[in-house]
């Protein structure tokens, strides 16, 4: 088969759109890990819950945009409850305690969705204004996936502004550097962690609503996605937001280009990428050394 420049370019755009979802998921994961040192195994489940709740709201209101705003709030609230009553009692007990807790929580959430929405999953559809494909000059590309790239950019920008330009963002950053000193300075660090966990899960929920129109929505949809998000987080560096964005896009592009040349190896390629990065740079692109120890 002939590889033309336009095919390569289209494959690249496909990879970026794919990477946008990975990046979005990894940001949430990385945010929670970077600030709280909690490896959130329920992240994929929050993504899945976001997809279900998003479709539920869409069914109620018939409006995608409304659901896009409301769903992250609901999933974020779920995250707040999780942090306050489940994760908080485990702080200071080692990294494996919250890891096991969130792993168990993910199965509880999966089962809850099975009970509420059925085991088969529910149909999702693309919002009418974003349906169909547009000609990019290199080939046809789905409008909705272009929107995905745009939406990710907006979320990343908003998060960056929040962390870097606001007073509260400053506190969050200080808290992640040294929680003890923050406490001494009179900052209620427990509340900061609560908010960070909430934001992280809200972003997972948002990724779920955003991803729903592109795939089948079923209770197990988060399992696969979680593994990929961890790959992205590890490649980008645990706890690093720019790392998560860069690695997300890179993983998407590597997957997409491998699919073109050797479809059989596409799934494997991202894990090979992770292995290579871990060998050459164990802390990932922008990770801090020694976070896990």
């Amino acid at each position: 088969m002939e590889i033309t420049p336009s095919l390569l370019a289209l494959q690249l755009v496909t990879g970026i759109a794919l990477g946008a979802v990975y990046a979005l998921l990894a940001i949430g994961l990385s945010l929670i890990f970077g600030m709280l040192t909690v490896v959130n195994f329920a992240h994929g489940a929050f993504f899945m819950v976001g997809a279900f709740i998003g479709l539920y709201f869409m069914g109620l209101t018939g409006n995608f945009w409304f659901s896009l705003v409301l769903t992250p709030l609901v999933v974020g609230a779920l995250g707040l409850v999780t942090e306050r009553f489940l994760v908080r009692p485990l702080y200071g007990r080692g990294i494996d305690y919250p890891l096991l807790l969130t792993f168990g929580l993910s199965w509880v959430l999966i089962e809850a969705m099975r009970v509420m929405f059925g085991i088969e999953g529910i149909p999702s559809s693309t919002p009418p204004e974003l349906r169909g494909a547009v000609d990019l000059g290199i080939g046809f590309f789905p409008k909705y996936r272009l929107f995905l790239i745009f939406a990710t950019a907006v979320v990343v920008l908003a998060l960056w502004l929040f962390l870097e330009k606001t007073r509260y963002g400053l506190i969050v950053r200080a808290g992640s550097r040294d929680g003890e000193i923050c406490k001494v300075l009179g900052i209620d660090i427990a509340r900061v962690w609560l908010v960070v966990f909430g934001i992280g899960t809200a972003i997972a929920g948002l990724s779920g609503v955003l991803a729903a129109p592109t795939r089948a929505v079923n209770p197990e949809m988060g399992i696969h996605v979680l593994a990929e998000s961890f790959v992205v987080t590890v490649v980008g560096g645990m706890g690093s937001l720019p790392g998560a964005v860069l690695a997300g896009l890179l993983v998407g592009i590597v997957f997409s280009l491998t699919s073109l040349f050797a479809p059989d190896l596409a799934e494997l390629s991202i894990f090979v990428l992770m292995a290579v990065v871990l060998l050459l740079r164990p802390q990932g692109f922008f990770g801090k050394q020694g976070l896990m120890s």
Binding site: Q11, P142, T258, S259, P263
Partner: protein, 413 residues
């Protein structure tokens, strides 16, 4: 002539002996009339195909209920023993062994994957218990897996894919791309299409393999777009089909390309929704909407609707119904409940339970049956069950199957 006491004694001994010899037989008959005919039914009640499996159970229970209501066999009633095989071949073998050894089932009907049906068959074959499989597979009828006790009620990939190919290739074009789930089922489907296409001058532009259970297919789609095929065949199943169909639609592939799937299931279509499946064509063993053409389908649907609050049977559900009915009919025909005699009766059976005339091919016990070609609807649907248009029904014909010799069977009668 007079009887001597010795003679009399001898005669009494003979009579007593006869009575003793006959007693177990009498006892057996008495017990047989009391005990139920037990049919083991291992299906994946949990796991990815649980919706289909639950429908299989509903339809099988309907078949048992109807048979019992009609008086059973000489007063002997049937009983269904449902077990969860969790879609796991090891679990399926264990449950089947339990059904045979502990529950003493007479027959086994069930399964909902190529792998579990082979593991169930391995157990039933060894213990000479009749097994009627209600899930798709090409291999179960091949000589190496087959036995006198192995029956296959479901369609097989070769027949289904072949029927869809024979319908679609002349209508939509000769340049074909396959997007295939990388496991036995996917490969068997591609082989079925390619065999059907060989005589029609069909050209395979690419056969792209994707891992089973992939969530995103977008990375494969630009290449397919560039190849500009007449037909894109999605050789995958369940959620994989929903995802790949949805994403191919988003990429605008439907504009120049007809998308077809070997198996278009009622349950997949319900889960995937009208938009994703719009205009996609595929094959199925059964669709309730064929009731206006097939009287037995109407009868079956009505009974199912009455039993289950107006809902209609799915394709795999209907197979559960047929699988049980065939075996129970053979019990009557054989006037026996042992697997050997019932198997022999089943080989002779000609039946029409729900989709037109069917029979089991003698050499491999494959049920020779029609294949329904359907197209997904997105407009003008009367209710939530109204999801397909029936485009054609390929009549039952032995010549559409692989030959007995090809399957490794020496005897063809």
């Amino acid at each position: 002539m007079s009887h001597t006491p010795a003679n009399l004694r001898r005669r009494r001994i003979v009579m007593a002996g006869t009575a003793v010899a006959a007693a177990p037989a009498l006892f057996n008959i008495a017990r047989a009339q009391g005990a139920a005919i037990k049919i083991g039914f291992p299906v994946p009640l949990t796991g990815a195909f649980s919706a289909e499996a639950q429908d299989q159970v509903r339809a099988a229970e309907l078949a048992v209920k109807e048979w019992n209501a009609a008086g059973g066999h000489k007063g002997q009633m049937a009983e269904l023993l449902v077990r969860d095989d969790k879609l796991n071949p090891g679990e399926a073998a264990t449950r089947t062994l339990e059904l045979i050894e502990k529950d003493k089932v007479n027959f086994v009907v069930g399964s909902l994957s190529a792998a579990t049906q082979l593991s169930i068959n391995a157990v039933t074959k060894e213990r000479k218990v009749l097994f009627n499989s209600i899930s798709q597979s090409d291999t179960i009828n091949e000589a190496k897996d087959w036995s006198l006790y192995t029956f296959h009620e479901a369609l097989n990939p070769h027949l289904t894919a072949g029927a869809v190919g024979r319908y679609a290739f002349p209508k939509f074009g000769k340049k074909v791309v396959y997007l295939t789930a990388d496991y036995a089922y996917g490969h068997e489907m591609v082989r079925g299409f390619q065999r059907a296409g060989a005589g029609l001058g069909v050209q395979t532009l690419a056969d792209i393999r994707h891992p089973l259970g992939a969530a995103d297919y977008s990375a494969f789609l630009p290449r397919i777009q560039a190849l500009k095929p007449d037909i894109l065949v999605l050789c995958n199943f369940g959620r994989d089909l929903v995802n790949s169909a949805k994403q191919a639609t988003d990429f605008g592939l439907k504009q120049g390309t007809k998308i077809i799937a070997p198996v278009l299931l009622y349950t997949s279509r319900q889960a995937g929704g009208a938009d994703a499946f719009e205009g996609i064509l595929g094959g199925t063993s059964y669709y309730w909407g064929m009731e206006d053409k097939i009287p037995s389908a109407k009868k079956f649907n009505d009974a199912f609707r009455k039993a289950y609050g107006g809902s209609v049977p799915s394709d795999y559900g209907a197979l559960g119904y047929a699988g049980i009915r065939s075996v129970l009919q053979a019990v009557k025909d054989a006037d026996a409940t042992d697997s050997t005699r019932v198997s022999i009766a089943l080989r002779q059976l000609k039946y029409d339970w729900y989709k037109g005339p069917q029979f089991y091919r003698k050499c491999d016990h494959q049920s020779v049956q029609s294949v329904v070609i359907v197209e997904s609807k997105s407009k003008g649907m009367k209710d939530k069950n109204d999801v397909f248009n029936v485009l054609a029904i390929e009549a039952a014909d032995e010549k559409n199957l692989r030959t007995c010799e090809e399957m490794g069977h020496k005897v063809t009668t």
